[in-house]
Symmetry: C2
Subunit: 257 residues, 2 copies
Amino acid sequence: MNNTSSSTTNEVLATIMSHRSIRKFKNEELTPFQIETIVRAAQMASSSRFMQAYSIIGLTDPALKRELSEIAKTPYIEQNGHLFIFCADLKRLTVMGTEQEKQDMRMMLESSYLYQIAVIDTALAAQNAALAAESLGLGAVMMQSVNKDIRRLDQMLALPEYVVPLFGIAVGVPDQQPEVKPRLPLEAVYSENRYPSESDMREQIEAYDDGMRHYYQTRSENNRDACWSRSHIDLLKMQLPVGSMTEYLHDKGVNRS
Amino acid sequence: MNNTSSSTTNEVLATIMSHRSIRKFKNEELTPFQIETIVRAAQMASSSRFMQAYSIIGLTDPALKRELSEIAKTPYIEQNGHLFIFCADLKRLTVMGTEQEKQDMRMMLESSYLYQIAVIDTALAAQNAALAAESLGLGAVMMQSVNKDIRRLDQMLALPEYVVPLFGIAVGVPDQQPEVKPRLPLEAVYSENRYPSESDMREQIEAYDDGMRHYYQTRSENNRDACWSRSHIDLLKMQLPVGSMTEYLHDKGVNRS
């Protein structure tokens, strides 16, 4: 469980290894310089075939932020220094094409193959953005919850075909200092040449669950009796209506075939 | 086009802003310490609901690396300091469940909703890994091309249900020093409160295309006459057989509904 003890030999590793999600921010807006730095950092991530298949939208309109926060029951969607919405974007690739070319591109644009590439591009950029923010002394949290009512968010942002919001990142001056959360044992995540055996995996998860139970019971805020594997099994058994996401993706022209 | 001039006020930003993909490595293997540092850095990325829904497999078997390199016609799949394969992994979440629970989880595991979360988790971790490598003075390149024959790679790594290889990262001591590649104008990627208008987008892409034509003509290696938007339109018009990816995902039990 002692993941954070790996030697942090430089400032980059020190920033990466001390990451924790910040969910409470001081009432201070980001400066234009901070916003620009974060976006330019995002842009420097690798991109498959250099497609740069993402868009970032800063949601600054207080009424829209409030509405989104109320839909998601997530106060830090409203209360933060800046809210970035990261969207997978295959639309930009088509803009300079003729009408005929737009038709001809449709088959590939609608494929799960290309949508997956856009999702990966977007997340790579987002992780750079989060680290850039943290390097500036800011805190950040990534949130799926901005998508609680994904069609409403789509409408708010006037997203065209082939553009899909994936998650938000709230950034700001931290007003809390939570502990770093212990990660899975390295051996549960990394193996050489082949996927680990089921029995090895069970053993590692059991050890992790023990450690996480202790972490959840003793951490400074939001204590509870929980362990990692059980909480996920209980969640996944709930059969939530996640199909609405699939329908939305189809309506946006992506992940269709 | 002058994206890289944004002030790099700390080592994290300096590392992020000087990223370039390295495709030629010296014949030096990574040390166990370097490999561990990279994996632990990957693990510290944010993860949706803390699912940690990814696995990383180091491909070290020379015969397998050679085979994969030949399939993909990508020499740096074989010639590098270390090859990491990043996989979306929803399997680990199920391991501690009973047989009945595994059945009950199936609906959510098969959803595009959950698969998308796993893809995002994997890419967030991967970007941390790449930056950690770069911070150690190593170079890296992310590659979809390890998936050229995705079923063969799946078989090589003995990947179970719900585990899907997304891309590789080759890491090593750089044996080339390519230029930093100019990114899209910030305004083409970032907007506030709503997606940019089509006419604004066209204007920004035109300016970028001009700059990129110059970049491709004058860069130190692999010169060519190309521009950003046209090369992607031509690629996407090709109607490549990308549906085989969709079938593979369905066979793995993900992105089904």
